[in-house]
Symmetry: C2
Subunit: 648 residues, 2 copies
């Protein structure tokens, strides 16, 4: 454990200048956030009503009516506010900030005298905290707290933060081991990591303690939830919950004994993120090791190559080791965001580059695949293989959409993607008092203070299309000694690094090249990372991928699409003895590096009409074009596959 704590870059001091990421980030400011504000105000014509802001008005006594929408409908406002805050960090957009202040005034007005805040329970009069298993009160509180912290950090305005501190103080009175307090914990983890954030900004240790209490108590026998009415008497809000065991929300055994990732993926990775936060705050080695074990279980047993998780749709959950079906999976965008959050925290804890490999994988593949270039259409579920005719006719696939959906009504994934894009700077750079970490290769500029000395790092690159990354290092005070740590990704087949034109070896440790020296103004570090196209195979215990191969370049996973290769993609076989050829497609997403592959495919004209027979199919030679997975489904509906059969 390193005493000198590592933190992500302050978003106010990172400017992203990357054309690739820039087009997504611009969408957040220009389209997604204004659109969501209209949505939660029920002003989008033709869209399902959200009722989110209306519920707050009713709870605040400014309007009369019933609560409408889900029990956790308040979180739509919270997620919007958090994403707005991340965006305001880099650009104080006046109209967005005005809308946010308006929402915050309303939230404050909806808060109860004692600090409690939740429009569903306030309006319905249902008993508070009576259904922790399903009621989402603490989950909602968590998103509100995260938003309040982010808004305070972005704007310096305290109002929202004060509202949420009052709520958190109330939570500290309600939950805890003392007699008369509730000995429960959230059915959907989220408040734990939020309380740690609130502690960090307020330094009120009660919040940290409550987060730790929720984590320590979770899954203790007898399980708290078993005494709640919903489980005892079957009075479920969500009928499918009757089918779920306690592992669905990670309460099947004491959390601190759990070593495999179980249950609902979003719940799991939010919870593990909080565990990593606690390990960081308490510098708790045992908890760190448990987090490592859980992370390794995910990454080495239960994660798709695209950085997504959730092998089953029912329960949106982890299943068994090596069970990674490509077409029936859930792979929710939100779970990928959560995996990136957990991995980033693990990097801050351990400074091990393997964690950033997964952050990068999650961001470049599943996160980006979720969003269409119009900013209003999204995938929530991210399969690795789609045959639209089958998806539409076979209800096993009823959770899968064959095109991105217009973002309507209740929605977790779009604002989650938005806040991640808006806080990308946090993933690119990190620093402690003496070291700057460069984690991701994205054209950008970052300023930070190292023991009181201002340092500016700027990064030029076009990664992973090109492996050259140029860093300009400018200390405010020339001749400052500090360490620059640049990540050498695990997929990199060699790296040459030059400082001011002179090759430097540096010290390689856990995926980072450490360069400790005295830096002058405009020192230039040029890294040549060798990231050719490469064929990647699964562990053969993954039965769905046996005999198959995928194509990657750097962190980017490629796929075959019907638009380029016609139907029946499962009839294609790749000759991996031939190197993939680069092919730049100027049309696809305004310019994308693709690959041309050699192989063969079944001649379906010769396939005959009967279903079973003794003949083998006839193959013919063919070329195939692979495109990045994040680009898929931008040219109409069609087949797609990540895993391709490989010639023996």
């Amino acid at each position: 454990m390193v005493g000198n704590k590592l933190t992500g870059a302050d978003l106010k001091h990172v400017t992203i200048q990357d054309t690739f990421w820039g087009k997504y980030i611009d969408l957040v400011d220009e389209v997604i956030l204004p659109f969501q504000w209209d949505l939660i105000n029920d002003r989008v014509e033709g869209a399902e009503k959200s009722y989110c802001i209306r519920n707050f008005r009713i709870a605040a006594g400014q309007e009369t009516g019933e609560h409408k929408g889900m029990v956790f409908q308040d979180t739509d406002a919270a997620k919007w506010l958090e994403a707005v805050a991340c965006s305001l960090n880099k650009n104080r957009n006046e109209s967005l900030e005005k809308a946010a202040d308006e929402a915050i005034d309303l939230i404050a007005a909806a808060q109860c005298e004692d600090g409690y805040l939740n429009t569903y329970y306030t309006i319905t009069g249902n008993k508070r905290w009576s259904d922790l298993f399903e009621g989402h009160e603490l989950y909602t509180a968590g998103h509100m707290i995260e938003a309040a912290v982010a808004y305070f950090e972005a704007t310096g305005k305290r109002k929202f933060l004060d509202v949420m501190c009052k709520f958190a103080d109330h939570l500290c009175l309600v939950f805890g081991p003392e007699e008369g307090k509730i000995h429960g914990y959230p059915g959907h983890p989220e408040v734990e990591l939020a309380l740690v954030k609130l502690y960090r900004v307020t330094e009120n240790r009660n919040y940290l303690w409550l987060a730790d209490y929720f984590v320590r108590t979770r899954g203790e026998r007898p399980c708290y939830f078993l005494n709640e009415d919903c489980i005892r008497n079957g009075n479920y809000i969500f009928p499918e919950f009757k089918d779920f065991d306690l592992d669905y929300n990670q309460s099947h055994m004491p959390l601190k004994e759990q070593e495999t990732a179980e249950g609902h993926c979003v719940r799991a990775v939010y919870l593990y993120s909080a565990m990593a936060d606690l390990a960081y705050e308490y510098q708790d080695g045992a908890l760190t090791r448990q987090c490592e074990t859980l992370w390794e279980n995910i990454v080495n047993r239960r994660m798709y190559i695209t950085g997504s998780i959730g092998s089953a749709a029912y329960g949106e959950r982890f299943t068994a080791d090596y069970d990674l079906p490509n077409d029936t999976n859930y792979s929710e965008s939100c779970a990928t965001v959560g995996l990136a959050m957990f991995s980033n925290r693990m990097f801050h804890l351990t400074r091990d580059g393997k964690y950033m490999d997964i952050v990068e994988k999650a961001l470049y593949n599943t996160l980006l695949a979720g969003i269409a270039m119009d900013g209003t259409h999204f995938f929530y579920v991210n399969p690795l293989e789609v045959v639209p005719e089958v998806v539409k006719k076979n209800p096993t696939y009823r959770h899968i959409k064959t095109t991105r959906q217009l973002w309507f009504g209740v929605a977790c994934c779009p604002p989650n993607i938005a806040r991640t894009l808006a806080s990308l700077g946090n993933y690119i750079y990190a620093s402690d008092e003496s070291t700057i970490y460069v984690n991701l290769f994205i054209r950008s500029r970052m300023e930070c203070q190292l023991s009181g000395v201002g340092i500016c790092v700027s990064q030029e690159c076009n990664f992973p299309e090109n492996g050259t990354v140029t860093l300009s290092i400018s200390p405010e005070k020339p001749g400052s000694q500090f360490t620059l740590a640049v990540r050498i990704p695990s997929y990199c087949k060699g790296a040459v690094l030059k400082i001011n034109g002179k090759e430097e070896a540096g010290t390689l440790e856990k995926g980072y090249l450490y360069l400790n020296r005295i830096w002058e103004m405009d020192d230039t570090v040029v890294m040549e990372l060798n990231v050719p196209f490469r064929y990647v195979r699964s562990n053969p215990r993954v039965r769905h991928n046996i005999g198959k191969v995928s194509l990657m370049k750097g962190p980017v996973v490629y796929c075959l699409e019907e638009a380029d290769n016609g139907k029946y993609l499962s009839g294609a076989v790749i000759d991996t003895s031939v190197e993939p050829q680069e092919e730049y497609d100027h049309q696809l997403l305004r310019g994308t590096l693709c690959a041309r592959l050699q192989g063969s495919r079944i001649d379906y004209e010769k396939a005959g009409d009967s279903l079973y027979g003794e003949e083998r199919p006839v193959y013919e030679k063919t070329e195939l074009k692979a495109i990045p997975y994040f680009c898929w489904n931008n040219r109409g509906e069609g087949e797609m596959t990540v895993w391709m059969r490989e010639k023996e």
Copy 2:
């Protein structure tokens, strides 16, 4: 269309002497039927209560209480009675017949004054015929009618038949095109084929007409069901029905225009069976062709190699052409029974052997796989690939059981399997006035009348383990001229036929070898059918089976099981250039012909610990043992697969 109608053998005049089939048939008489009688009388300790007989007692006024169980709970008694009747055909077991008479007395007592009979609607007082979409009243009526006809045919006793004629007369008053009658039809087809049976035994054409009315009206626009309360107001008995479109029960378009098999499989094949019955009775060429089209769609696009149907669990339904996932499918035992029924009717209509190929495939694979040798454990769902650890942890597979289940409570499949086994004779032989058809190669003896002359056919064989089939033909009057038609299965790689030692060519037509001659007492026909092990491949449009092969011998599909081959069956590759070797296993199901295959398999010890990498798996040479699919899961829980990867 042949004017001289073909009919299945009279069960009273078929004796099955086959050791293989005999052990299953004995189970029906000795275990299944007595066990089910106890079940529906709530006398099996530890079993979920059925309430079936109790409901009849309440409806008959002999007991007070509420209706319990499903809306179609009455059918448990009906299916039991039908299976008892089939069994009594060959053996008037006194205690079974006494129990059946008792049940029939009770059913008669539960009938309403006007002929209506349904304990759910009688006891609850719910409005009759108000929910044809879900209420199963006509479905229940259909099973009752089938049972009554079978019982009359087996015993000659009229009581049950009279009760059901009274009900059918009532149906004729209630349903029809006239004003004041209901213009609807069943949500679950079944009564149509039952009414045809009732017509055949009573010669009352009203019943045939009503069956035809139901078929002709089905799916007419606007669809009748759209006016029912459940669809209009969402008041569903079965909540999942809100997700189902009209194609779920084949009412999405006029039935007589439908050319693809859609929706719930059991509903579909029961309905198509009735269509085939109507085509037969009316000698309707257009309807026959439509039946052929539907049958071809199933058999050439939507059927598993094991003769099962139902590619999706949700809706237990057909999906899309060539969509045949091996692990998430439903493949209900009842649907296989229905496919055999439909195919047998198509054979009677057309005398084409291709239909009997499918009857045989259904019987030898999915039907037998459903039943355990104790007669009390059954599979309802019949996947072609199972990995127990995954099935138990991944809710996508929650409909799959990894071992046969003790037969409790509501149950369609066990009695459906029982009645099929008890009426096997019907499938083995058929005849018209001048021809005897031998369809299946099962050691048995059959007597029939050909234009008034008694003929006895007896069959010696041990098929398909051995391809020699010996038929002894004995006309009551020596020197009788008639035709013997023996089926030459499509999988047969050659057939040599000798009559009294002398080779005969006969006339081959649509899968039957016709032998028209003057037959003397004890003429002997010896057929040598060449049925070696063979490797069968799927049409490559079946994406789940690309690069894979299955092993068959005659109609029998083989599979790999963990008990013989260890775990990770998907890591095995078969070298199909090496002929499979016969290997007799004296233990497995008291003696079974197995096969030894050559191939290779992944060395999992060398597979490493990471999930993704660039290395290919290491293979090692191996031998594998394949067993018949119907034998699987008789040696404890374990992996199983029908489709095996094939060496390129």
